[in-house]
Amino acid sequence: MSADKTAAAVSLSGVAISFGSGASLYRAVADVDLTVQPGEFVAIVGPTGCGKSTLLNVAAGLLTPSAGAAEVSGRKVEGITRAAGYLFQADALMPWKTALANVAVALEVAGVGRAQARERALAWLARVGLKGFSERYPHQLSGGQKKRVALAQMLIRDPAILLMDEPFGPLDAQTRTLMGDLLLSLWQADRKAVLFVTHDLDEAIALADRVVVMSAGPASRIIADHRIDLPRPREIVDIRLDPRFHALQSAIWRDLKAEVMRAYGDEFAAMGLGKSAGAK
């Protein structure tokens, strides 16, 4: 990964994404410019269905945008972005492989010998707190444990940038907090560039250096970009009590609220909730 050190880690310029064609054309994302600097942790928040995840897929090379260009570490994205690690929302582990094999395979496909790959995978499983779980199959692990295996699987390749698509979305609140802390402590060690998609504003503020707000779809775009000046290293439970956290939360929620309302528009109006759904 001979990345250009001065170039942005991720750079999207004028990216638009459409699905279908003709009358059934759906414009998911319209004209997004977004830059993630090396070592920067950027969170994207927005109402459901605003196309947050499709932006990640563009950066990953899993999806070709209908307009605009994507660059990773100064190189144009063409095909799968080798320099990127991707953490999916849904279960992405191979169910027929043990936790150890799932992590080791990420090195094996890159040509690392079996014995060495296993040894390093064991070390990574220990780092995510899964020592002693290496021979378990995914169905024998809890949701949080599976996510930690996936995290080790992504990080063992030492990717230059990390793309995360609501990775902790399916987990319960306590597990989410623990996973957030684990992610922060791993990230603190080598500070890779992160693009983290979530619908949870608290999670975004607690984790990121910058929170980008997207408008409701269709044709969603970036409507706000907030710098999170909370001190690091952070502990999620503590940082949530910080007065600055609350100031940021209400500032960003002002931008986000209108879009959430727009996304649910008629449904909320029908329930008579349109006016009173002010503070979170």
Binding site: A60, L62, I80, R82, A84, G85, Y86, F88, A90, D91, A92, L93, M94, P95, W96, K97, T98, V105, A106, V109, A110, Y137, P138, H139, A150, Q153, R157
Partner: protein, 262 residues
């Protein structure tokens, strides 16, 4: 129900059936004893016949032939099903063209093919193997095809993001997925391989369990027919048990495999 209670009930039922069979063919309860014995034989006669099968050793040759045909049908049918299933799953255009033909071939009752296979392959084992292959092939083919098609798109995207090329995707994703589908139908396909062998033997052959039963039937030797059926069903149960053992080992990663394993 507890395991031991269940077993007790099962053995009890078997004994009850044998007792009823014995009483009805030994005492003139509903019909003349001689007539009842002609139609149903008796448990004692059948047991003696089965014992004689093994005591004289004549059964081994027939058992071996039937098992060999079953094994060959299963092996050839599985390999063909895997190769063609994979190929069609990766070639959607070819699959679309072949679709009606595959459905037609699969809808055909296989018994009608038996005489054709006898003509083509003769009366020895290969005509029976061919019949079994036509049964096994479609089960394996459909499962492998499904297994490749139904790979979760997230697992596939993740594997791509981990840097896998096409060959590595095949080895780490498509192949295990297809195999798991194939193994889930192992009971059915092994069973059908045996059906192909026995039906083929029944329709024309000089050896095998199907031949044995057919021979007994043509001389109205009901004891021979039932004895042949008993041996055949014990073989089926043994094979099924063996398949379960293999399945539990190979599909250890699947939650369902252990659930219906026992």
């Amino acid at each position: 129900m507890k395991r031991t209670t269940l077993l007790a009930w099962q053995i009890g039922l078997a004994i009850a059936i044998i007792v009823v069979w014995h009483v009805l063919t030994t005492y003139p309860v509903i019909s003349d004893v001689k007539q009842a014995r002609f139609f149903f034989s008796t448990p004692v006669d059948v047991a003696v016949r089965v014992w004689r099968f093994f005591a004289t050793g004549m059964i081994w040759r027939h058992l071996w032939i039937t098992l060999l045909e079953t094994l060959l049908a299963f092996g050839i049918g599985s390999i063909a099903g895997i190769v063609i299933g994979f190929w069609l799953a990766r070639q959607p255009r070819v699959a679309a063209v072949l679709d009606p033909f595959v459905k037609m071939a699969n809808a055909l009752p296989r018994v009608v093919l038996a005489p054709i296979f006898m003509l083509w392959f003769g009366l020895d084992i290969w005509s029976k193997v061919a019949l079994g292959v036509t049964l096994v092939f479609f089960i394996v083919f459909f499962n492998v095809y499904q297994g490749v098609k139904e790979v979760s798109p997230v697992i596939l995207s993740n594997a791509r993001m981990l840097g896998m090329n096409e060959r590595q995707l095949f080895r780490h994703v498509y192949w295990p997925s297809a195999l798991s589908w194939m193994f889930s139908s192992l009971h059915t396909s092994v069973g059908f391989a045996l059906v192909g062998a026995v039906v083929g033997e029944y329709l024309g052959s000089a050896a095998g369990l199907g031949y044995l039963i057919h021979e007994a039937e043509s001389t109205f030797d009901m004891t021979g027919v039932v004895a042949g059926m008993v041996v055949l069903s014990v073989v089926v149960v043994l094979i099924d048990w063996l398949v379960t053992l293999i399945e539990v080992r190979l599909l250890a990663w699947r939650p369902e495999a252990t659930a219906h394993g026992a």
